[in-house]
C-alpha cells in the first residue's frame, strides 16, 4: 500500500538556527519590563513608588545637609514649634526633629533592607532547595519549618532582645530567626507548582537541561512571588522595630528610630503634638506606600490576581 506519488526524498529537513526555535515575532518583553508596563498604569502604585524614593533620598541626604546633628542639644529651643530653623520643630532636648526623623527613617529602612536581604537569601534558598531536592531532605526541612511557624514570632524577638544588649544589630538578629520562614514556604510551594506545569514539561521535551530549566523556567517565574513577599516583609520589619522601641525594649535614646521618636512624642502629646505627629506620619507613609506598591506589584506580576 505504498503511495507511489509521494517519495521520502520529497521531504527536506529544514535547518533552523537554535536561537530561532523560540522566536517570537513581536518585540520580546521580559517579565520585569512587562510588569513595569502594567505597574505604570496603576497610578496609586506609581505615586507610592515615588513617595518611597523621596523618603529614601531624604533619609540618606537630609541629615547630611542639615546644620544640626541628631544628637546635638540646644536648650534654647526645647520643644520648639515647627519654624524656619527647625522645620519639624525640636524635642525635649532641643534636638532638631527634622534630622532626628530622617535618622530614624534611616534606621528603620536599614532594618527593613536587612530583613529583605535575609528573606531573599535564606528564605529563597531554603524554599528552593527544599522543593528541588524533594524526598527525605524536603521532609526534614518541612518539619523544621512547621516548628518555626508555630512560634509566635514577636515573642521570640522579645526574648532574644532580653538576652542580648539592645541595639540595631540585636533587633536584626532577632528578626532573622523567624523572618524568612514565610518566604521559604511560599517559594517552595511556587516551585512545586511550577515543576508540574505544562511549560516545564514542554521545555523538558525540547531537551533542555535540568540547570537550564531551573535558571530559565523556574526561577524567573517565582520572581513575582518573591518580590511581592519582600514588599510585605519590609513594612513588617519596620513595624516590629517601632513596636519594640515603643514598649521600651528595643532601641533607646539617644538613637533615634521611629519607634523611639513616637514613644517620646506620645509622652508629650498633650502639650507638644508635633513631636508625635511628624514621626507618626512618616512611619504611616512608609507602611502605606509599601503596601500599596506591594499590591500594585502583585497585580502587575501575577495577572491572575488582577481584579
Amino acid at each position: 500500500m505504498r503511495n507511489e506519488a509521494i517519495e521520502d526524498s520529497l521531504f527536506v529537513k529544514v535547518k533552523v538556527k537554535a536561537e530561532e526555535k523560540e522566536h517570537i515575532a513581536a518585540p520580546a518583553s521580559g517579565m520585569i519590563a512587562d510588569a513595569w508596563l502594567r505597574l505604570r498604569k496603576n497610578k496609586a502604585a506609581v505615586v507610592a513608588l515615588f513617595i518611597l524614593i523621596a523618603i529614601i533620598l531624604l533619609a540618606v541626604f537630609a541629615p547630611v545637609f542639615s546644620k544640626y546633628s541628631f544628637s546635638d542639644t540646644d536648650y534654647g529651643s526645647v520643644f520648639a514649634q515647627p519654624n524656619a530653623d527647625h522645620i519639624f520643630g525640636a524635642d525635649q532636648f532641643g534636638r532638631d526633629m527634622w534630622v532626628r526623623i530622617w535618622m530614624g527613617t534611616r534606621i528603620s529602612l536599614m532594618i527593613a533592607a536587612v530583613a529583605a536581604v535575609l528573606d531573599l537569601v535564606v528564605g529563597v534558598l531554603y524554599g528552593a532547595v527544599s522543593a528541588l531536592l524533594g524526598g527525605r531532605v524536603d521532609a526534614v526541612m518541612q518539619r523544621i519549618i512547621e516548628v518555626l511557624v508555630g512560634i509566635p514570632h514577636l515573642i521570640i524577638v522579645i526574648l532574644f532582645l532580653m538576652a542580648f544588649p539592645a541595639g540595631v544589630g540585636t533587633i536584626i538578629a532577632a528578626l532573622s530567626i523567624t523572618g524568612w520562614v514565610n518566604m521559604a514556604r511560599l517559594v517552595r510551594a511556587e516551585i512545586l507548582k511550577l515543576k508540574s506545569q505544562e511549560f516545564v514539561m514542554a521545555s523538558q521535551v525540547l531537551g533542555s537541561s535540568k540547570f537550564y530549566i531551573i535558571m530559565k523556567d523556574l526561577i524567573p517565574n517565582t520572581v513575582g512571588v518573591i518580590v511581592i513577599n519582600v514588599m510585605f516583609t519590609i513594612p513588617n520589619a519596620i513595624f516590629t522595630e517601632a513596636f519594640l522601641s515603643f514598649i521600651g525594649i528595643g532601641l533607646a535614646e539617644p538613637q533615634a528610630s521611629l519607634g523611639v521618636l513616637i514613644n517620646g512624642g506620645y509622652q508629650v502629646l498633650q502639650n507638644y503634638p508635633h513631636v508625635l505627629i511628624f514621626p507618626a506620619v512618616v512611619i504611616v507613609l512608609i507602611m502605606v506606600c509599601f503596601s500599596v506598591l506591594g499590591d500594585g506589584l502583585r497585580d502587575a506580576m501575577d495577572p491572575q490576581m488582577r481584579k
Binding site: 526645647v78 533607646a252 535614646e253 539617644p254
Partner: protein, 531 residues
C-alpha cells in the same frame, strides 16, 4: 435596603456604646485617687521593696510612729516612750485600746513578731540591714548564730515594747515610720500562712484605712478603718491607688478628673509649672560621680577636683532634666535633717561648685603631676534614660571646660554594678537614695574601702564616722558628719555630686493636705481632705 440595615447596625453599635452608664462617675465623688507607675507586686511586709508597696501599706498599716508634714516622726500606735541615759534602750508604751481591723488588740508581741521576721532568713526585701545594723544581736540572728530571745526587741507586756540598740541612734524613731517596722497580727498570720497579704481578706489592718480590693496590676481600693484609734481625724472615707504604667496615660487620666494627684515627667513639667495645681519636692536621692581612686588618671586628686568643678550643674537640672531636680553642690540631699538652725545642706554649704577657672587650675596641676594630659577617660553609666542624658551632658561639659575627652560606656544596671565591684572602671555615674532622714545613710558607705566605693580608705574619715556612731551628744555627732562630708567631697573629691532628684506633681485644687514624703513612705492619705 442593605444601606438601611447597615445604618441601623451602626446606630445599634453607637447606642450600645452610650447606653451603659459611665463607670467613671462613681470615681469622681470624693474618692482620693492616686496613680503609681508600676505594679504593686507584693504587700508581704518582709518581701516588699518597692516604693509603691510602701505607699499602699502606709495607708493601711501603722507603726510606732507616723511621719508628719515636716517629715518628723509623731507618736502613732505608741503613746509615749522613754530613752535610757546611754541612749541605747528605748521603751515604747502602746496606746490603750488599739485594735486590728478584725477587732483583735494590737500588742507589743505583734511588733516583736514582724521585726523578727524582717531580720530572719525569710526576709527577701533586702531591708534587714535597717534593723540588724541597730538592734542588739539582730545581725547574729539574721545569720542564724543567735536565738530569737537574745535579740534586743522584747515585749515586756502587751503594751510595752523594749528595744536595745548597739549604738546611740538619734534617728531611730524616724526608722520606726518605715513599713518594715509596722506590726503584723501574729495570730492572724498563723491562720493564713503563706497566703498572707496576697488578697485584701488575707490581711488585717492597723492603719487609717482598710484595703477592700487589691490586684497587683490594678491597684488598691481603701475605705476608712473604723477600728483605727485616730479615726476622728481621718477625713477621707474612700481612696484608691491605681496602677498606670504609662506616664502619658496617667497625665491624661488626671486631666479627665480620674486622678487627684499625678506625678509629671520633665516634658509636662515645662508646660505645667505655672499651674496652681503644680508642686515639686526634692527626693532624698543624690546622683553623683564615683571616682576609682586606684585608677592612674582619676586617682589624682587634682584631676578629680578639676572634673568636679567643671560641671555646670544648674544647666543640667534647668534644661536637661527639667523635672524639679536640684543641682548637687553636696552629697547629702537638700532638706535632710541637720539641727534646729537648718538642714544639713544649709549648715555645710556648698562643698563643691562650678568654677571653670578653678577647674582649669586643678586640671593643669593634675596634668603636670601625671606628666601628660590623658587622651581619654571612660565614664561608666547605667542604661536608663536619665543616666544616659547625664552622661551625655558630662561628656560635653568636660570637653568644653577642660578639653578632656570622655568615652561613655553604657551597661545595664547589673552590668555596671559588676564592673564596679570588680574594680574595673575609671569613674561612674551612680546614685544613692536615703533610707532614713539622716546624713549617716550616705556617709556610712565610704568606710569600708570597697572598689564599689572607689577604694577610699582614709583613717580620719573613718574616725569621724566611728565617733558619730557612738556619740551621745547630738551636736558633736552632727559636727562629725559635717566634717566627714567636707572631707569626702571638698578635700578628697572621692565623689562629685551631680544632682538631687526632684519630683514634680499636679494635685487637684480641691484636695488639701495630701502629704508627700521625700523618703521612706511616699505619701500620707491620713491627713488629706476635700474642700
Amino acid at each position: 435596603m442593605l444601606k438601611k440595615r447597615f445604618t441601623a447596625f451602626l446606630l445599634t453599635l453607637a447606642l450600645a456604646a452610650t447606653a451603659i452608664p459611665a463607670g467613671a462617675a462613681e470615681a469622681s465623688d470624693q474618692v482620693l485617687s492616686v496613680a503609681v507607675n508600676a505594679e504593686i507586686k507584693t504587700l508581704v511586709p518582709w518581701a516588699a521593696s518597692e516604693e509603691n508597696a510602701f505607699l499602699v501599706t502606709n495607708q493601711a498599716q501603722e507603726g510606732l510612729f507616723r511621719m508628719d508634714a515636716e517629715n518628723k516622726p509623731q507618736p502613732a500606735l505608741c503613746d509615749t516612750y522613754e530613752v535610757s541615759d546611754d541612749k541605747l534602750t528605748y521603751t515604747f508604751h502602746l496606746r490603750d485600746g488599739i485594735k486590728w481591723s478584725n477587732g483583735d488588740p494590737i500588742t507589743a508581741g505583734d511588733f516583736v513578731f514582724s521585726w523578727l521576721k524582717q531580720m530572719s532568713a525569710e526576709a527577701t526585701n533586702g531591708y534587714s540591714f535597717i534593723m540588724t545594723d541597730y538592734i542588739v544581736n539582730g545581725q547574729e540572728y539574721s545569720e542564724g548564730t543567735a536565738e530569737a530571745d537574745t535579740v534586743g526587741v522584747k515585749a515586756l507586756d502587751d503594751q510595752t515594747l523594749e528595744v536595745q540598740l548597739k549604738n546611740p541612734t538619734p534617728y531611730f524613731t524616724n526608722l520606726c515610720t518605715m513599713i518594715m517596722f509596722f506590726p503584723v497580727d501574729e495570730a492572724f498570720y498563723e491562720s493564713v500562712g503563706d497566703q498572707y497579704a496576697l488578697a485584701p481578706d488575707s490581711m488585717v489592718y492597723s492603719g487609717p484605712f482598710t484595703i477592700t480590693e487589691y490586684d497587683p496590676a490594678v491597684g488598691a481600693t481603701f475605705v476608712k478603718n473604723d477600728n483605727y484609734w485616730d479615726k476622728d481625724n481621718v477625713q477621707i472615707s474612700n481612696a484608691k491607688v491605681r496602677v498606670m504604667k504609662d506616664a502619658a496615660a496617667a497625665f491624661n487620666a488626671y486631666q479627665a478628673g480620674e486622678l487627684s494627684y499625678v506625678k509629671l515627667d520633665s516634658a509636662n513639667v515645662i508646660a505645667n509649672q505655672n499651674s496652681e495645681e503644680f508642686s515639686q519636692t526634692i527626693d532624698f536621692r543624690s546622683t553623683y560621680i564615683q571616682f576609682n581612686l586606684t585608677d592612674p588618671v582619676v586617682g589624682n586628686v587634682n584631676m578629680r577636683q578639676a572634673i568636679s568643678h567643671a560641671i555646670e550643674r544648674e544647666a543640667l537640672t534647668g534644661f536637661i532634666l527639667a523635672d524639679g531636680s536640684a543641682p548637687g553642690t553636696g552629697l547629702i540631699a537638700d532638706g535632710m535633717a541637720g539641727n534646729a538652725e537648718g538642714t544639713f545642706r544649709e549648715l555645710n554649704g556648698d562643698v563643691t561648685s562650678f568654677d571653670v577657672d578653678l577647674a582649669k587650675e586643678y586640671y593643669d596641676k593634675a596634668v603636670a603631676e601625671l606628666g601628660s594630659a590623658p587622651a581619654e577617660v571612660k565614664l561608666l553609666v547605667a542604661d536608663d534614660s536619665v543616666s544616659k542624658s547625664v552622661a551625655t551632658f558630662l561628656q560635653s561639659e568636660l570637653d568644653k571646660n577642660l578639653g578632656l575627652k570622655v568615652a561613655i560606656d553604657t551597661k545595664t544596671v547589673q552590668g555596671r554594678s559588676e564592673l564596679m565591684d570588680s574594680n574595673n572602671y575609671q569613674f561612674a555615674v551612680t546614685a544613692w537614695g536615703a533610707d532614713y532622714d539622716d546624713a549617716m545613710t550616705y556617709l556610712d558607705l565610704w568606710t569600708n574601702g570597697t572598689p564599689y566605693r572607689g577604694n577610699y580608705t582614709n583613717d580620719d574619715y573613718n574616725a569621724l564616722i566611728a565617733d558619730a556612731k557612738s556619740q551621745t551628744d547630738d551636736a558633736v555627732r552632727l559636727d562629725d558628719m559635717l566634717q566627714a562630708e567636707k572631707l569626702l567631697v571638698a578635700d578628697d573629691a572621692v565623689v562629685a555630686p551631680i544632682f538631687h532628684r526632684g519630683s514634680a506633681a499636679l494635685t487637684k485644687s480641691n484636695v488639701k493636705n495630701l502629704i508627700i514624703h521625700p523618703i521612706g513612705v511616699p505619701m500620707e492619705f491620713k491627713y488629706a481632705y476635700f474642700e
